[in-house]
């Protein structure tokens, strides 16, 4: 519990942020030990990935539709 | 209080940066338009390397002329429709006459529909590159030379190139008119 969140845990936390669901225990860990900057940077990165993801989704949908 | 000071400085800096970002959106938008062809803005201008044309398909290019408000010139394309193979260099012209009793300066603004075709329409020479000044009653034939890129997506079989003529006489300095007068 007192460990600093690992990169993987940070990623998971930010991901669950996008998802909008988080458990009390993980949140407590994040807020007790994490540095906000890491979360913000990861968040921005994930937002970028999200945009790329939606763009890929659009391409895929268009290729399915044959345009 | 120094903790406040540092935080406040950062936040103020952030808002100043965002103000700058607001203006940065203007060039960003142009880049964005170029990449996605949003809004049919034409960015491809100037000479292109001529290569073999793609005779397997023919694109119907419709040319239209639009007047913006307060623009009384007679303005229209010489050919309403041109059929062109991708890669083929086509030449046409627009005719303009200033029927009024005063000197006027106009700027033609090109636009392409569908917007995604904009990036595949290369204008080698276009009257829209410069402002057009016409004396009272004067007419002019304005040439247009264009090539459609061979990479034009297959599903686009017809496209429209419109020119909107804006009256910019009040905006331009008398320099343009003076120069025009000198040439005459």
């Amino acid at each position: 519990m007192s460990d600093k969140p690992t990169l993987w845990q940070t990623l998971l936390s930010v991901l669950s942020g996008f998802f909008g669901v988080q458990s009390e225990r993980n949140r407590e860990r994040d807020f007790r030990n994490g540095r906000p900057l890491y979360y913000i940077l990861t968040g921005l990165l994930m937002a970028g990935l999200f945009v790329v993801g939606v763009i890929l989704l659009v391409r895929w949908a268009l290729s399915l539709a044959g345009v | 209080m120094s903790a406040h000071g540092r935080l406040v400085r950062r936040l103020v800096l952030g808002s100043v940066l965002m103000f700058g970002f607001g203006f940065a959106l203007v060039p960003l938008y142009d880049v964005f338009c170029e990449v996605t062809g949003l809004n049919g803005k034409i960015t491809n201008t100037g000479p292109v390397a001529i290569s073999a044309m793609d005779t397997s398909r023919q694109i119907k290019v419709r040319l239209i002329a639009v007047h913006n408000e307060g623009m009384p010139w007679d303005f229209g394309p010489m050919d309403g429709v041109i059929r062109a193979h991708p890669g083929e260099m086509k030449q046409t012209a627009f005719m303009a006459t200033n029927p009024t009793g005063r000197r006027m300066v106009a700027q033609a603004i090109p636009s392409v529909a569908p917007a995604e075709a904009a990036q595949y329409l290369h204008k080698v020479n276009c009257f829209c590159f410069e402002q057009q000044a016409l004396m009272a009653g004067e007419s002019v034939e304005m040439p247009l030379l264009f090539v459609i890129d061979k990479k034009l997506p297959e599903h686009i079989r017809s496209l429209t190139l419109s020119y909107t003529l804006f009256d910019i006489s009040p905006e331009v300095s008398s320099a343009v008119l003076a120069e025009k007068e000198q040439r005459l």
Partner: protein, 381 residues
Amino acid sequence: MGWKIIKTIGSGLGLTVYTATASAAWEVNLTPGVTDVSRSVFDLHMTIFWICVAIALVVFGVMFWSIFHHRKSRGAKAHHFHENTMVEVIWTIIPIIILVAMAVPATATLVQMYDTSEAELDVQITGYQWKWRYDYLDHELNFFSNLSTPRDQISNEADKQEHYLLEVDRHLVLPVETKIRFLLTSNDVIHSWWVPALAVKKDAIPGFINEAWTVINEPGIYRGQCAELCGKDHGFMPVVIEAVSKDDFNQWLADARVAEQAEAAAAERVWTLDELMQQGEQVYLRACAACHLPNGAGVPGAFPALKGSAVALGDVAAHIDIVLNGKSGTAMQAFRDQLSATELAAVITYERNAWGNSLGEAVSPAQIARLLTPSTGEAEQ
């Protein structure tokens, strides 16, 4: 009531007087329209609507059940749970699945709308403050379409007719079962051309060209309006489409050309002052009164008065120039393309002789006709 009263807006089955429109006035849903696209849109709309209703029933059901049963006055004791990641994950996944289910048909309909295959008829639509101009690009025919509802109906001095505010002087006549491409642009501000029965709404933007497609399945008259705030009379620039069979369309094209020639011929004959004044008043009310007001008084600070003005009482050539060519940097449009030679002559004559302006001189249509067709290239030599 119910979803069955859906009716194409303004379809021929309308009722004649306002009091009799009760059933039409309670219209509650989108029109299914008369094109394949508009039907897909309607189906999509209904699907999403019912999905939303279903979700609402579940969520509000649980909520009202709790409100009813878990109230203190019924002796309910609060249970102290405040987290359950499992439940939360489930109720996040379910909406995502529902959203995907919505996105699939939505994408299909959108792709259908963007069918860029070649059209058989190109119509250029130009928005003006506050009217539409239609150009049949392959047929060298163009005209303006103005609101034709009389002003006394708008000002409540006469009974409002069936198609109040949804009627124009010239319909946009289109053939059915033909792929039509609309090319939209604007002369001044942004307008938006909308016909619900076609499910076509596209912005007309000055300097830019936009396109939209349709294939109308059924003949009929379909009405719409401008959908983007475009200034004072935004609410008074309707769209009326008359869809006819292909044969009727060709006949109409031919008739329209004959009418145009007749109009041009009329300009050459001699008109009396009274004739011009009479027609001038009609033209003025249609084309000028929106800004300069029916009594010529204008709107201070926005639109100048014509009554007693220097232009209307001054040099006739300057007056003609401003009406034909507009005035740069103001809202005064160039009317040379919008009105015929006769109409222009009539309205200028009217402005110089109405509301106490009394110059007594007439501007002849023939004089204007010569100005409208300048011999090109003349000044260059």
